[in-house]
Amino acid sequence: MCLGIPGRIVEIKDDTGLRMGTVDFGGVRRDVCLAYLDEDIQVGDYAIVHVGFAISKVDEDEAKRTFEILKEMSELDELEWLGDVADRSLEGGTAS
């Protein structure tokens, strides 16, 4: 749970006073809290995301390079699996 994964911010929105957004991780999209990033972040920026929270901005090259390395080290398998499981948890019923 300490692994940070870089992704691209594709949407920034306000959820009743909390800055949220959608982040794309190589095709897998998740809702992410953006409250801990500087206010000047924009759609298209890259950030490192931990458990649904962006904790630092990174540049594009760095983000892509890290993403590739994580992929090569098969550290991203969990991301897709988790996406499914987490969505089912939200919908209700017991996820497996």
């Binding site: 749970m1 300490c2 409250a35 801990y36 458990v51 649904g52 929270f53 390395i69 080290m73």
Partner: protein, 368 residues
Amino acid sequence: MKYLSEYRDPKIARSLADQIRSTASRRWVLMEVCGGQTHTIVKQGIDELLHDAVEMIHGPGCPVCVTPLEQIDRALHIAARPDVVFTSFGDMLRVPGSESDLFQVRANGGDVRIVYSPLDALEIARRHPDKEVVFFAVGFETTAPANAMAVWRAKQLDVSNFSVLVSHVTVPPAMTALLASPDNRVQAFLAAGHVCTVMGWTEYEPLAATYRVPIVVTGFEPLDLLEGILMAVNQLEKGRHEVENQYVRSVRREGNRPAQDVIGKVFRLVDRQWRGIGMIPSSGLGLREEYAAFDAELKFGVSVVTATEPEECHAGDVLRGKMKPHECPAFGTLCTPERPLGAPMVSSEGACAAYFNYGRFRSAAAKA
């Protein structure tokens, strides 16, 4: 050098490894703090590659591993209640409690759900006002900003059926405890890059000065680790003991201020029990008084639980770097990832699981 070919940039890796070996005039003892770093080191064989120059001992930075047994038992107790939806990061589900684990509770009909973010747990609470939704808030400073925000939001939005079972730990007090121990062998630390992304590294400066130990803030990719090790070895050779930052891409000295603010609003420092290690003063985070209504321990009255660890498990020695996982008599026999005896065999950040998954069995023990 068999592992070098697997690096994305084998040339740089080889050059860093050569520099480390030619710089080290003796074999230095380094500890990587973060379980994610342990995972990379063992997976990529960095410890074996640098065997003559450094001994890598694996630190306590696996949140799943250090969450106390009592807290797992409390989680199991709460999760079994029919009125509760129990939510957690996936890693926690297989951690053995005294008698069972969260998977078992789920198999017995408990509503236990894995969430991606603690805000998802809060969302479940908003969608199910008839249920008590509990989130297992564990981890180091990397998950603290997320968990703090979920509680802060719950209060702001007045979601009274949401609560958290908190078992947060912080890294610097654990490093202090290791350094202060009379049989400490650690000569330099690789501090955890993402913990420092949140907290910065000012907390480490007095540590480096007091114990005269180099601390290098390091990332978790293979090249980061090689570079961090080289920086630490350089300091050791020159007799320096400073905090240096290898992971400049993500870490600033002051850390992430907005995240620290929310952590400070919701949490306060408390003494914490570390599984396998024991009580470390002021080493954890607990909810502030203003957030007591969101404290699952109070809400469900599960404060007093006593638990005993299985005798065969040497997790405490592994977590303090006194024993390598494959030296544990239960390793790979009584204890495997399918049937873990102790928490370090569960999570991918646990040292025992890393050794098991990457084939470090007894044959390797002779070398280590």
